[in-house]
């Protein structure tokens, strides 16, 4: 059978592969190459070695954005997962209205980042108005604003994944633990948490990468104001490319570093949490 299918490559695999080459492979390879070049467009690139990578570290906005993003990622991953897991635990007790609550909590996830940013800009600015401030008064406002926004958007999504994980725990396992005299805290620590470890792996992975790569919400909520102090990495890279002349090469080098960081975080996180997964 394999032989019969094999010659059908042009029909089955070629269309996707051509698009994938145009939309990913060529841009990726060219991107890595251009990070070692000085250029304003693709055709006038001059090879300059590691110069761009060295110039990055003289750019204070990048270093600031790196720390800002790292801190944001840590805080948002912890808050989103803790809250989503708590809500999931409470919504699997079979209380009245569970379905409606689930529907409501999930809904913000479908709204795009740009729109979310402007919705919350109105709310935060309206609230801060009472203190004669705006969201762009201080980068800490932008930081916590973005944390609240991301929690609002992502709790529902992660909650759905945690609920699926909790419902997959076999009932006998919990019964057996109860007969053995486990109290609620022991039940959570020694039965529920280990059993939902696959969900925890997925949710931390998704929240980590979503937060680290955040762009739309950052752009709409504060656009990096005041003076690039609330600018995250993705926005910093965009601004390096498109608002500073002669910095295109540095922008591309930043993008390569950004990619390496995302890949590193993803691999380390998956290794760490999958190690803790258990079989029922």
């Amino acid at each position: 059978m394999e032989k019969a299918i094999k010659k059908y490559f042009p029909i089955f695999a070629l269309p996707t592969f051509v698009a994938f080459t145009i939309g990913f492979i060529i841009p990726f390879i060219l991107g890595v190459y251009l990070s070692f070049c000085e250029f304003t467009t693709v055709t006038d690139a001059k090879f300059v070695g590691f110069k761009n990578y060295i110039r990055i570290w003289g750019d204070a906005t990048f270093v600031h954005a790196l720390w800002y993003t790292a801190l944001f990622t840590v805080v948002s991953v912890i808050t989103i997962n803790a809250l989503a897991f708590t809500v999931a635990m409470l919504l699997t007790k079979g209380i009245k209205g569970t379905n409606i609550f689930r529907t409501v909590f999930f809904m913000p996830n479908l709204i795009g980042g740009i729109i979310l940013g402007y919705i919350w800009q109105l709310i935060f600015n309206g609230f801060l108005l009472q203190f004669d401030r705006t969201l762009t008064f201080n980068s800490a406002y932008g930081f916590w604003g973005l944390i609240i926004l991301m929690n609002w958007q992502q709790i529902g999504y992660m909650m759905i994944i945690y609920i699926a994980g909790i419902q997959n725990i076999p009932g006998e396992l919990i019964e057996a633990a109860k007969i053995d005299g486990a109290n609620n805290r022991q039940l959570l620590r020694h039965v529920t948490l280990p059993m939902v470890m696959p969900s925890i792996t997925i949710c931390t992975f998704l929240t980590l990468t979503n937060s680290f790569k955040l762009y739309d919400q950052n752009l709409a909520l504060t656009a990096g104001e005041p003076s690039n102090k609330s600018e995250m990495l993705a926005l910093n890279i965009y601004n390096t490319f498109y608002t500073r002349n002669g910095w295109e090469g540095v922008g591309q080098a930043k993008a390569v570093i950004f990619f390496l960081l995302v890949a590193l975080i993803a691999i380390v996180q998956l290794k760490l949490t999958t190690k803790k997964e258990v079989q029922a």
């Binding site: 939309g23 209205g97 409501v104 809904m107 740009i114 729109i115 709310i123 108005l129 998704l206 752009l219």
Partner: protein, 280 residues
């Protein structure tokens, strides 16, 4: 005794979540209320209900629709999303079946490349991709479908491959022995079986394409074609001057189709998210 206590507890939880749900949808309600108020009252008293002085009826809506060409933006966004999702489902499912069934070095390499592309952030390829799309004249609503197929192929192929591995070979073999060509076998047997995965992929990709901002912003010729997120961001204009009235109205118009879609396909969306998370 315990059952009575449990019920009491459940009732309190229901009440708690009911209050929380109301708070959760509040930002959207506030935006909705503000969309009927005069600009100046939106920034000065965002939490006040409209009164005789601040109420402007549908003025913000008419104004906003004209200003950003909302109806065209809606049309383009719908067209791009529907076409991209349809093309992604068709092409990547065929590709996934091929690379799972035909075992060669080439298909193995393709599989790893698709998986690899999932962790690459868009900023890594944004500059080169937009230049290549420009060279190939893909900056229109039809061309961008190819870009979405290329950049979105990773997740889709990966999810379909996971499913194809679980389909028993025997059914396909017997169809081929009965004289079906691979193409007939695929469309009459394999594709119908993959329907649940296809729905998950469709939902995940639709959520991405509909809300995507940066890719269409860089790839499309935005003087001619704006999607909804681009049109809304466009309202921001120069430094900090936002027409808040039009902004509120356009946010409401952008959210309404999402809420309709969500209430209609809620079951599939939530199942799709769970399935996507487990396999991704």
């Amino acid at each position: 005794m315990t059952s009575v206590r449990k019920a009491k507890h459940g009732w309190a939880l229901t009440l708690f979540f009911a209050v929380l749900s109301v708070i959760y949808v509040m930002p959207i309600i506030i935006v909705f209320i503000n969309s009927f108020k005069k600009k100046i009252f939106i920034s000065n008293r965002p939490f006040a209900l409209p009164d005789a002085k601040s109420f402007v009826g549908l003025e913000n809506y008419i104004n906003g629709i004209e200003k950003i060409g909302f109806l065209q933006a809606f049309g383009y966004t719908l067209f791009i999303t529907v076409c991209s999702v349809a093309v992604i489902i068709l092409c990547t499912s065929m590709c996934a079946w091929y690379i799972t069934r035909v075992k060669t070095k080439i298909t193995a390499t393709m599989y790893y490349l698709f998986a690899f592309s999932m962790i690459v952030p868009f900023q890594m390829v944004m500059f080169t991709l937009s230049k290549i799309a420009d060279m190939l004249h893909l900056g229109n609503p039809i061309g961008i479908v190819i870009v979405y197929l290329g950049f979105g192929a990773g997740l889709a192929v990966f999810m379909f491959c996971g499913f194809v591995k679980s389909i028993p070979l025997e059914i396909e073999e017997s169809a081929m022995i009965d004289g079906c060509t691979p193409v007939q076998t695929y469309f009459s047997i394999v594709f119908p079986v993959m329907k649940p995965t296809a729905i998950s992929v469709a939902i995940l990709e639709a959520m991405w394409v509909w809300n995507d901002y940066l890719l269409p912003y860089l790839v499309l010729d935005i003087k001619k074609y704006k999607t909804i997120p681009i049109a809304i961001q466009y309202l921001k204009g120069g430094y900090g001057s936002i027409d808040m009235g039009a902004m509120m109205a356009m946010i409401v118009l952008a959210i309404i189709p999402i809420i309709i879609f969500y209430t209609a396909c809620q079951k599939y969306i939530i199942e799709g998210v769970v399935a996507g998370a487990v396999k991704g």
